[in-house]
Subunit: 113 residues, 2 copies
């Protein structure tokens, strides 16, 4: 696992939920979107992505349904639930707290014991 992944670990669910706030989407598209937004700097590995959406659905944060494409490969679409929206708000808050905590712990002006 790359260093970046090791640090992004634990934020996968929040990232996926954030994407679904904009509208229903499917796995492949979620990943392409991440790749686009980060200009190729980051993408979820497929196994990570499908593990995550499975976990999110089991936890009631998203629902899924098969799309009715006439052409191309079938797609499983995901939509965020109201529990998912609430969980997302909490995750955002936790993420802000974690950032602040870590930054506090690596600050230089330690009037330290």
């Amino acid at each position: 696992m790359s260093i970046a992944s090791e640090l992004i670990r634990g934020n996968t669910d929040m990232i996926i939920l954030s994407h679904l706030l904009l509208g229903d989407s499917y796995g492949y598209n979620i990943n392409k979107s991440i790749l686009l937004k980060t200009k190729g700097l980051y993408e979820l590995k497929e196994a990570t992505l499908y593990t995550a959406v499975k976990r999110l659905e089991e936890n009631g944060l998203i629902n899924s349904y098969w799309g009715d494409e006439n052409t191309g490969a079938r797609r499983r679409y995901y939509s965020i639930t109201s529990e998912g929206r609430q969980a997302y708000v909490n995750m955002l808050s936790e993420w802000e707290n974690a950032k602040n905590l870590i930054d506090l712990l690596i600050k230089e002006d330690n009037t330290n014991a």
Copy 2:
């Protein structure tokens, strides 16, 4: 594991190295210092701490030696190596990148596909 811990995961080494930049220290003190700096909001679990310093030493980022206390329990002191200093700089940079990447991915103004 608390939610905060899941997000702080992967930053343990950086946090410990940051503390050792201020001078040699020992496990128990590192943890008390973290508790102080965060005003009780966060502390490393003992198992996490001792796993981390073992890993750091195996990787050559810190050295250790037994203190010569006349009283109280024995203490194993740790000092950061030059490799450790270099690794710390890299970790700081990785952390900034990870923060930016995650924040980018949860930003609201997604002109999104």
